[in-house]
């Protein structure tokens, strides 16, 4: 009985360690992607969004909402894919 609970604890510990390792790798890859995103996408988008905000406020409001939701869906898919990929590789 005691031996089986020890085994269970060991399996849980190994599972947690694996999850944390996968998560740490995911964070590093995610950070690299985010830095690239800042310098490429936002750099190019910045000026045109600024101009749109100055000239077409209603258009800017709509684009704001679309960009925010689009980025949310994109980033979630990226993180989910990364986590699945890393966990899949480590198994």
């Amino acid at each position: 009985m005691e031996a089986s609970s020890c085994d269970e604890f060991g399996i849980m510990k190994a599972e947690t360690a694996k999850t944390l390792r996968a998560f740490a790798i995911e964070l590093v890859i995610y950070a690299v992607l985010v830095v690239a995103y800042f310098f490429l996408v936002l750099h190019f988008l910045g000026e045109s969004l600024h101009r749109l905000e100055q000239t077409h406020r209603y258009g800017y409001a709509g684009i704001t909402l679309l960009l925010m939701m689009g980025q949310a869906v994109l980033l979630q898919n990226v993180t989910t894919y990364l986590l699945r990929l890393i966990r899949g590789r480590s198994e």
Partner: protein, 304 residues
């Protein structure tokens, strides 16, 4: 990094970190986190109007991520969220009108400060009492309903049941939450949440999430997920109106959201490891933190 829309220089790393922290809190507790984001943006020199509008835009993105995660766990009641959105938007408009009345009377800061401190302290005290009582009772988790809805134990359940027995038609059946309740009770809860949102600012998740648990009888995990869904609708409305008024720097919101996206997922996943009363007990410091910020601004005269 220079943000041309708000004409501000802010470190992107700082924005990502703030977003990450707020993302975890939002995903775990179902709150927007504006009581942290507002001051955090003000402290780096962003104008107050931009801090409010930009925070709302970032809340939309963060809530989309958290809701998708919560939905995968079956923690979102879409029907309840849609109904609540109607009451919330109406309440927010009334709250904003109240602000205008107090502004004209010249005592808006004092009134809002006193009301918010009283509300925050009441919520925290009540939730400490209730969640500790629920945890001390050590009752086994009630089984899922016939529809497979999650159930929760609360020391306030006798009052919740009495509210659910009020037969004021139309009665709304919420199979996902395992609750049948009067439409008017749902609208009233949402209206009060919206009222505080318009009056005190932010998404008012600190009021809506506990109200959904204690008044409507929604299980805590579902209350968190559904509150976030409802926040998407109300924060989108707020983002549009603020963007039209020129109060949103979308570039700052996008950068903040890169941290929030991952934080919100962590927060949502963490809820799976905690029982309802434990989530409610862990929630207690949030309104207290809000109260502390208001007390600080009241006595220091520092306007965040």
């Amino acid at each position: 990094m220079f943000f041309p829309i708000s004409d501000a220089h802010i470190s992107p790393l700082y924005l990502v970190l703030v977003g990450f922290v707020i993302g975890i809190l939002g995903g775990f507790f179902g709150v927007g986190g504006s009581f942290i984001a507002g001051p955090a943006l003000r402290v780096v020199g962003l104008d107050w109007n931009f801090a409010v509008g930009t925070d709302l835009a970032h809340i939309v993105g963060k809530s989309v991520v958290a809701v998708r995660q919560h939905r995968a766990f079956g923690n979102v009641d879409l029907r309840l969220g849609m109904i609540m959105a109607i009451g919330t938007v109406t309440g927010a408009e009334v709250g904003a009108q109240l602000i205008q009345i107090f502004k004209r009377a010249g005592n808006v800061n004092l009134v809002v400060s006193v009301v918010s401190i009283a509300v925050y302290l009441s919520i925290s005290s009540f939730m400490i009492w209730e969640s500790r009582k629920s945890l001390a009772a050590k009752k086994p988790m009630p089984p899922a309903s016939a529809h497979g809805a999650k159930r929760d134990h609360s020391a306030f359940m006798h009052v919740t049941r009495a509210i659910q027995r009020l037969k004021m038609p139309p009665m709304i059946e919420l199979p996902t939450s395992g609750v049948t309740i009067s439409l008017w009770v749902i609208l009233l809860v949402a209206f009060v949440g919206g009222l505080f949102s318009g009056f005190l600012g932010g998404g008012a998740g600190y009021i809506r999430m506990p109200s959904m648990v204690y008044v409507l009888g929604i299980p805590t995990h579902l209350a968190v997920g559904t509150d976030l869904f409802e926040i998407i609708i109300s924060a989108s409305y707020g983002t549009l109106t603020h963007a039209i008024k020129g109060n949103v720097d979308i570039l700052i919101a996008l950068v903040m959201h890169t941290g929030a996206a991952i934080g919100a997922q962590i927060g949502a996943i963490l809820t799976q490891y905690f029982a309802g009363p434990k989530i409610r007990l862990a929630f207690v410091p949030l309104p207290l933190l809000g109260a502390a910020i208001v007390v600080y601004t009241l006595f220091s005269g520092h306007k965040w």
